[in-house]
Amino acid sequence: MRLKPAEIAERVAQDIPDGAYVNLGIGMPTMVANYVSDDRQVIYQSENGILGVGPAPAPGEEDPDLINAGKQFVTLLPGGAYFDNAESFAMMRGGHLDLAVLGAFQVSEKGDLANWATNNDTYPPAVGGAMDLAVGAKQVFVIMSHTTKSGEPKILESCNYPLTGAAVVKRIYTDLAVLDVTDQGLRVRQLHGDNTFDEVQALTGATLLPALS
């Protein structure tokens, strides 16, 4: 069985610890905030210069300058702060963020991340803050579908798309399973539903290690 995107986001949310400073990437990662349990206080950073990002404002209450990295209107929670981009990325690079949750095109068994460019050179590339987050956050979790729309594996021995960062991903959450990047290789942490190890292995382009009991 395959989890829906919102269900993968919900699974990631379970692993975000109380008190963490977290950056959520654009798209599916942003959904994670919807599922973090109310008994945990998590402080979200937005790369354009916000710490303590709150939910979307009520219609008519938008501040035109107060947007997140995905250009959506947001609010600031009590206790939040604004800062400029140089300080925002010093915060990332300096290792002050506990966790970044990012989307990916491909992840390798060594934790290499490819999420900013494909091999299509006619299309202008865009990188944004992805490379800074990849090397800067203390931990990087990836949330993505296990395979491409045409069924090709996105988890590979090595990425064939241009890298965002080398050996930066700690854990991969997909619609089929949760995998840890370890010194021994990719280890299954959890199989969703009735998925079997062999089924997930068959859709993965790298050798998996079975879950530790």
């Binding site: 937005s46 790369e47 354009n48 210069g49 916000i50 501040d63 035109p64 300058d65 107060l66 947007i67 990295a69 250009k71 600031l76 604004y82 800062f83 400029d84 981009n85 140089a86 925002s88 990325f89 010093a90 990332m92 690079r93 460019a117 006619t122 299309y123 202008p124 590339p125 865009a126 990188v127 944004g128 803050g129 992805a130 490379m131 800074d132 090397v135 800067g136 241009p162 890298l163 965002t164 960062g165 080398a166």
Partner: protein
């Protein structure tokens, strides 16, 4: 008497020259000096190098400079967004040069230029295509890329409030690239919503001290429709 307040956006950008490098503050739809950009477009200086996080969307803001083919090169982190039609068209034509820089490296290169730093080693981009051809160094077991300072001839920035000494206060996340850019250009021009009397801005809240700002122009009307 120091008075950095100028009467019009047009006069404040009138000495921008063909071939100048122009930093433009803003991120997405937030904190853009839209009226300064419009004055620059009407001024018509060509072969500009624009340094900004994005390459503009729709027909407004930075996109209007691209549409009028005033920009030879753009230095940015995220040129491609929904609606970045003019950048994509010029890129396809080969009519614009793109220097793609990771966002934090862009901000730090600008900061370095304003702080008198020639360059710095960053882990961002190490081992990737964006580090190709650049000097690298392993420091305490970690790989770094040498990135150099990025100064400009002109910075066009947006703040909320100013005084005649050029002190600036920003609005929420509209701060973004504006404060580092204010420090990094030979000529810094700030578009603001209002100008207060010297002494009326709380010194504890001033983000950009006036020493970094050369000219201040108040908006005719508040608008933010770059999105």
């Amino acid at each position: 008497m120091i008075n950095k307040v100028w009467d019009s956006f047009e006069s404040a950008v009138a000495d921008v020259k063909d071939g100048d490098s122009v930093m433009i503050g803003g991120f997405g739809s937030s904190g853009f000096p839209l009226q300064l950009i419009e004055a620059l477009r009407q001024h018509g200086a060509r072969d500009l190098t624009v340094i900004s996080n994005n390459a503009g969307v729709g027909d407004e803001g930075i996109a209007s400079l691209l549409k009028d083919r005033l920009v030879r090169k753009i230095v940015c982190s995220f040129p491609r967004s929904a609606g970045s039609v003019w950048f994509e068209r010029l890129y396809e034509e080969g009519a614009i040069e793109l220097e793609l820089v990771p966002q934090g490296t862009l901000a730090e290169r600008i900061r370095a230029a304003g702080a008198g730093i020639g360059g710095f080693y960053t882990p961002t981009g190490y081992g990737t295509r964006l580090a190709e051809g650049k000097e690298t160094k392993v420091i305490n077991g970690r790989g770094y890329v040498l990135e150099t300072a990025l100064p400009a001839d002109v910075a066009l920035i947006k703040a909320q409030r100013a005084d005649a000494w050029g002190n600036l206060i920003y609005n929420t996340a509209g701060r973004n690239f504006n404060p580092p850019m204010a420090t990094a250009a030979a000529l810094t021009v700030a578009e603001v919503e209002r100008v207060d009397a010297v002494g009326d801005l709380d010194p504890e809240c001033i983000v950009t001290p006036g020493i970094f700002v050369d000219r201040v122009v108040a908006q005719k009307e508040w608008r933010n429709d770059a999105a």
